[in-house]
Amino acid sequence: MQALRGLTWLLVLQSLGELIARGLSLPLPGPVIGMLLLLVALRWTPVRESVALCADFLLSHLSLLFVPVGVGVMTHLSLVSQYGLRMLAVVFVSTLLGLGVTVLSLHLLRDRRETDEPHKDAPHA
């Protein structure tokens, strides 16, 4: 029951997010606004208890959710056969760069600021 209530909360917040995104024509996708709303709503214990179960389940099987879109590769076989190798090279190199830059910047920043006081001004809910 708790997990079901959690799923209901997620769907309600996603719908609210869609409404806000469309109503105010914001550049953010509905689910992203839903995520920000949930971040605020999690302060409330009933929401937190029910969402915890459902979120853990959904996020631990996150990779399954990409399968239907992934199988869609088969509908773009002509593009893939024409540019496949080049597209793969771009994806491969840019992903390694993204991973490397992120991990190295965290590494560098950590070494320099290790003894710093923690920041007190938190910008979010």
């Binding site: 992203v32 996020l59 996150l62 590494h107």
Partner: protein, 243 residues
């Protein structure tokens, strides 16, 4: 024999087929992945996609009739994005303490991934709409589709690039981090996880969650952060350049 063919034609046209096939192949792939000691190359998403796509091509089942069933799984991507608030909430104290450097790392990684993809695509002579579909590739697939649509890319292609990016990250992350001598103490795991979530979204994060709890939590955090940053900044950057 004709009876079997009739039965297959009937089954493959109902939503039951796409849903069952997806779950059955995925659970098998998960079992194999665990038996193989979670080796990166045994990635369950990769093998599920390969098996399902080649199976559909061989049997001649069109993608839309597969998707009629698989859409029930696809639909959960929306609530899953909302659920990303949960790992952010769990780590809210660390986020408060380190938000400055995490934000810098997320921005640097996101810009490096999108920028290098756009430049390389252009240098290799890929069509413009392919290039634009490459830009949001470090963001989780449903959000990448939305961003690609806004900047003039092809949403389906953007989703495929996002999945590929996730797989590249999940497959190669370990080797890259080892080569860069990122340690495997808690801080090192946090950095590894954060990089996986930033540059290879949900699929990289799923890998991180399976390998180490610290890595998984930071991957979830990075994933949520990247979703917000990319969906705000990528359309904005393109609007500024086109103006």
């Amino acid at each position: 024999m004709p009876k079997f063919v009739e039965l297959w034609v009937y089954l493959s046209a109902t939503p039951l087929f796409g849903l069952t096939a997806t779950l059955a192949v995925y659970t098998l792939a998960q079992t194999a992945y665990r038996r193989l000691g979670q080796a990166p190359w045994a990635n369950p998403v990769l093998w599920t996609v390969v098996v399902l796509a080649s199976g559909l091509l061989v049997t001649g089942v069109p993608y839309p009739s597969y998707f009629a069933g698989a859409q029930f799984i696809h639909f959960l991507l929306g609530p899953a994005v909302v659920a990303l608030a949960w790992p952010l909430w769990l780590r809210r104290d660390e986020l408060r303490q380190r938000w400055g450097r995490l934000l810098v790392a997320a921005l640097a990684g996101g810009v490096a991934a999108s920028g290098s993809a756009l430049l390389m695509g252009w240098a290799l002579g890929l069509p413009a709409e392919v290039n634009l579909s490459l830009v949001p590739k470090s963001v989780t697939a449903p959000v990448a589709m939305g961003i690609a649509e806004q900047i003039g890319g092809i949403p389906e292609l953007a989703a495929v690039f996002a999945v590929l990016t996730g797989l590249v990250g999940a497959l190669s992350g370990k080797y890259l981090f080892d080569a860069l001598r990122i340690s495997t103490n808690p801080a090192g795991w946090a950095a590894r996880g954060f990089a996986l979530g930033t540059a290879s979204h949900g699929i990289g994060a799923a890998r991180a969650m399976q390998v180490n709890a610290d890595a998984g939590a930071y991957a979830g955090l990075a994933l949520g952060l990247q979703v917000v940053l990319a969906s705000l900044l990528i359309p904005l950057a393109f609007r500024l350049f086109q103006a």
